[in-house]
């Protein structure tokens, strides 16, 4: 389908351009339920990082608490990871990113972790446009505490026990777009074809990339009346546009425009090519993006793919005007004004 997808047939054997094999991006064996959507996302993350040839140790994995938040243990065993507390991944990510702007930050959260207890932090990390990838593994329920509805459960959705959810559902993508995220996408754990390039594009974007990935909980929320079930998503999904992602090293030598209806160049000169069914509204128009989302919702359809990109977004460091050198690498000479200055300061207080 996509001309850019690497053709390695046996990725475990053939290394990527940085010399890492796919196995170098794997993690511990998952302890999640067999069939859990989260495991598929885990493997898409592995694939995306492998394909992008990211050095694993330059990635930091962060998460909150929940089945979803356990996944960082199951990918990228060569990356430092931080499984923090419930709903507070964004704060940890913000601090970590402030300390070292040179690493890649990959945050994983759940819909409970983000849309309930973590709502405040979600809103504000988006608003600050922190340079990170923020993935919500969205199953509409609290997996780890055994299946309570979460705030992303759709109104009218039915749980395994038959209870109908009457509360409004929170659309995290729409919120993220509204709040100024630079990159927003939605996908489905069951569709690696879409998820992998989406992840790659998100990893290359400068600023906050938010990905809402519907990820069925087979144990507690996979009955067909649940809008977060494999069945429902497969039936109601629509793709915004086909997506090719061409990382910056390749863009220099290649032109991949055939058939693409829109090409968006990111900060690092990677390019996203979109293949839309018809030449629709541009994905870089914030209001259009929201409108398109709402349109699909009104029709009872779930729109997936890249939903919005602002290729020029400024991240938190840009906004704070911090130096290019990672703050955690500054030496005492760069940090401490010294005794002589202190004498002058003392003087000013006499």
């Amino acid at each position: 389908m996509s001309s850019t997808r690497p053709s390695f047939r046996n990725p475990d054997i053939q290394p990527n351009e940085a010399g890492y094999s796919r196995r170098d991006y794997e993690g511990l064996i998952s302890t999640l339920c067999a069939g859990c959507g989260h495991d598929s996302i885990t493997s898409a993350i592995i694939q995306a990082c492998f394909e992008l040839a990211l050095p694993p140790h330059r990635i930091a994995k962060l998460s909150g608490i929940g089945c979803s938040s356990k996944t960082p243990a199951y990918f990228l065993a060569k990356s430092h990871g931080f499984n923090s507390v419930h709903g507070r991944m964004p704060a940890i990510a913000t601090g970590a990113n402030m300390a070292n702007r040179d690493l890649i930050y990959l945050g994983v959260s759940g819909d409970g972790d983000t849309a309930s207890i973590g709502m405040g932090q979600f809103v504000h990390v988006v608003r600050r446009n922190l340079n990170m990838v923020y993935i919500v593994m969205n199953n509409g329920c609290y997996g780890l505490t055994k299946g309570q509805y979460s705030a992303t459960a759709d109104k009218g959705s039915r749980s395994r026990k038959g209870a109908v959810n009457l509360l409004e559902s929170i659309d995290l993508c729409e919120m993220a777009i509204q709040l100024g995220a630079g990159f927003v996408g939605r996908s489905f754990s069951g569709d690696k074809e879409q998820l992998v390039p989406l992840l790659k594009a998100a990893l290359s974007h400068h600023g906050l990339s938010f990905l809402d990935v519907i990820s069925p909980c087979v144990t507690f929320n996979n009955n067909p009346e649940s809008t977060k079930s494999y069945h429902w998503v497969r039936e109601h999904r629509e793709e915004s546009s086909g997506l090719d992602f061409v990382p910056f090293r390749q863009t220099i030598n290649t032109s991949y425009s055939e058939g693409a209806t829109e090409a968006i160049t990111l900060h690092d000169e990677s390019v996203i090519y979109l293949h839309k069914p018809k030449a629709g509204p541009s994905i870089t128009d914030r209001r259009m993006a929201i409108d398109t989302l709402e349109d699909h919702k009104a029709k009872g359809r779930l729109l997936t793919g890249v939903l919005y990109i602002n290729p020029d977004s400024q991240d938190t460091h840009d906004l704070l005007n911090t130096c290019q050198k990672p703050l955690n690498s500054l030496g005492k000479d760069e940090l401490c004004p010294g005794a002589a200055v202190l004498a002058a300061i003392n003087e000013a207080y006499r």
Binding site: P55, P56, H57, R58, A60, L62, P72, A73, A77, K78, S79, H80, G81, F82, N83, S84, V85, R88, P90, A91, I92, A93, T94, G95, A96, N97, M98, A99, N100, D102, L103, G120, Q121, V123, H124, R128, T316, H317, L320, N321, T322, C323, Q324, K325, L327, N328, L330, K332, E334, L335, C336, P337, G338, A339, L342, A343, I345, N346, Y349, R350
Partner: protein, 629 residues
């Protein structure tokens, strides 16, 4: 009537309205006294409100050199109608009631034991500055000028101060100088001999500075190399961050004019401490400043930092609790909640600065300790220390000393380990002191990676639900706590003298901002009763062995603190009594927690009462004047 008299030894209270510019005039007055070399203490007693409510500013000068609030008011400058009566009543017999005589005093203001000093502030200003928008501000300078005249105070320092303040606005400088003269000459003319309080320059405070503790703490963080700040505004801690940002803007710019610091105003305190933990995990020195309510919100994250062993520096500028309490009053009531913050078995390192110089020093130390011990360190300041300007030794820094960054393995160290085939695990106790070695994200492509978690983990940071592994880890944390006892700043001890009538010399224990009042009260005890207690000033929790020793040697022990429940006393008993065998009944509590900066008179009378039962002798010399308040 006996007028209160004295040179360089009195308390003046300015009673004004907040948001009216009086703060800067009062400050000018206090700082001028300081510049004259006097031992001055200045306390701003302000409301939790932006504008229009009563504020007091209490200035004390002492010949003995005490920097404590004394208690009692010798002169009140009562220029706030809302509190006129209260201010009138508050005055000591023999004191001076300074008021705006543009209006009549109420008829029932009939005290015969005080001296009235009326100055028609409003009229004077209206006349001299007709049409000026600055009138309300200038009126404040008028009373300063008048007070200076009453005290027979040399105007030069005040004039200098005005000059400094308005260096870039000569027109304003001129108006202010005029206002100063206006008050001064009016008072000279009309109240020439009314007041027997005097001010004479001396050199008591050579080399000292006059600074608020929050600025000093901010500088401590700056000097210690803090680069990431997560914070949320809350009185009285906000100015720590404001000062830090100000100085960072001056001293932390790179060649391109970019900041070598990231200061993030968080959405709340949960996020603020989370950012600190994230940054510290990633190898930056990072801190936050907050106060009670904010601290309560940080409980969950502090448990994570304790258990996952992540450095974090937190400055808690305490205010009056519980709950929102009195946000603009001072207290030392977060001791217990800081010591044991978070669910589960947790303990945190606390530091207790007493002066701005120590706010600087201990904040800087906090960064070393946090990284050496890999745990949160909480600097417990308070509103009095943090927001009032204190006369303090100057801030001191030794350029020779390196930052103590603790046990961090870089790529080279990891390679060496690998070569030697030595084992490393994030939570492995290689050195037998409970402190493990950590690595930073991004260090090395192959080595030193680990997974940080708040869940139970084994020595290699693997998730575990194994009972034995869990217990082993918890015991190592206890061992680390023992190690911390020897690393934290030791308590400072003044030896007492054996006291007639007491089996041993009594022992006074205090901490933090209580120092000036306690030291003065102890000196008075010695002077008036010949009783010279041993004194221990705590500077850190956990307590070093010197604390248990002290507890063993003295009877009774009195712990002076600014909270209701004797929180530090509880910590002392919890942590030391097994070692030193002290019986809790021998550890008395003097708790003064009304929210006002501690006054030496209150401490003295509290001590006397407690010691009486143990046979405090009769006052040997004359009881001090006014001390009965």
């Amino acid at each position: 009537m006996n007028k209160i008299e004295g040179t360089n030894d009195f308390v003046i209270r300015f009673a004004t309205v907040n948001g009216s510019g009086s703060a800067s005039a009062n400050n000018l007055f206090a700082r001028s006294l300081f510049r004259m070399g006097l031992a001055v203490s200045a306390k701003n007693i302000f409301p939790s409100n932006i504008q229009g409510l009563p504020t007091w500013y209490e200035v004390r000068v002492s010949t003995s050199g005490s920097l404590a609030r004394r208690g009692g008011v010798d002169m009140v400058v009562a220029v706030n109608g809302q509190t006129l009566r209260q201010d009138y009543v508050s005055l000591e017999p023999g004191g001076y009631f300074f008021f705006d005589s543009s209006k009549q005093l109420p008829e029932d203001f009939t005290r015969s034991d005080i001296t009235l000093i009326g100055i028609p502030l409003t009229l004077l200003v209206n006349e001299a500055f007709a049409g000026s928008k600055q009138r309300p501000l200038l009126q404040n300078i008028v009373y300063v000028g008048a007070v200076a005249a009453l005290l027979d105070m040399d105007l030069s320092m005040l004039k200098n101060g005005i000059g400094r303040q308005f260096a870039k606005k000569p027109a304003l400088a001129e108006a202010n100088l005029k206002a100063l003269e206006l008050g001064h000459s009016y008072a000279r003319e009309h109240h020439a001999d009314a007041c027997l309080l005097r001010v004479r320059g001396n050199r008591r405070t050579d080399n000292a500075i006059m600074m608020d503790g929050n600025t000093a703490a901010a500088l401590g963080a700056l000097y210690a190399g803090a680069t990431v700040v997560g914070w949320y505004p809350i009185t009285p801690s906000t100015s720590v961050i404001e000062a830090f940002a100000r100085y960072a803007g001056r001293f932390r710019l790179d060649e391109e004019g970019r900041l070598r610091v990231a200061i993030v105003q968080a959405e709340d305190e949960l996020a603020a401490i989370g950012m600190v933990i994230g940054a510290s995990w990633n190898g930056a020195r990072s801190f936050t400043a907050t106060s009670g309510p904010g601290f309560s919100l940080m409980n969950e994250f502090l448990g994570l930092a304790y258990f996952a062993e992540i450095p974090a520096v937190l400055i808690n500028v305490q205010r009056v609790g519980p709950s929102t309490g009195m946000p603009t009053r001072t207290q030392q009531s977060d001791v217990l909640s800081c010591a044991y913050a978070s669910h589960g078995d947790t303990k945190h390192v606390l530091l207790f600065p007493s002066t701005p110089a120590e706010c600087f020093e201990l904040t800087a130390t906090a960064f070393d300790l946090a990284e050496e011990l890999q745990t949160p360190v909480i600097v417990l300041s308070d509103l009095d220390l943090g927001m009032n300007e204190h006369v303090s030794p100057p801030l001191e820094w030794n350029d020779e000393l390196a930052y103590q960054r603790g046990r961090v393995l870089d790529a080279v160290a990891l390679a060496v380990l690998a070569e030697k085939a030595e084992k490393w695990g994030r939570y492995l106790d290689r050195d037998g002191d409970g402190i493990p070695w950590r690595t930073l994200p991004g260090t090395d492509p192959e080595r030193g990676v680990y997974f940080t978690r708040g869940t139970s983990h084994n020595e290699f940071s693997g998730y575990t639900e194994d009972s034995a592994e869990y217990v082993k880890n918890m015991q190592r944390l206890s061992l680390k706590w023992e190690t911390a006892k020897l690393k934290v700043p030791a308590a400072l001890i003044q030896v007492g003298e054996t006291t007639p009538g007491f089996a041993t010399s009594p022992g006074l224990i205090y901490y933090g901002t209580s120092y000036a009042a306690v030291e003065e009260a102890a000196a008075l005890l010695a002077q008036d009763y010949g009783l010279k207690p041993a004194i221990l000033r705590l500077r850190a929790f956990p307590f070093g062995p010197e604390v248990a020793d002290f507890l063993k040697q003295h009877r009774p022990i009195i712990v002076v603190e600014q909270n209701r429940d004797g929180q530090m006393r509880q910590l002392l008993i919890n942590e030391c009594s097994n070692e030193c065998g002290v019986a809790p009944v021998d550890v008395l509590s003097l708790t003064l927690y009304d929210g006002m900066p501690l006054a030496s008179r209150e401490v003295l009378s509290g001590l006397r009462q407690l010691l009486d039962e143990h046979g405090l002798p009769e006052a040997s010399s004359q009881s001090r004047q006014g001390e009965s308040a």
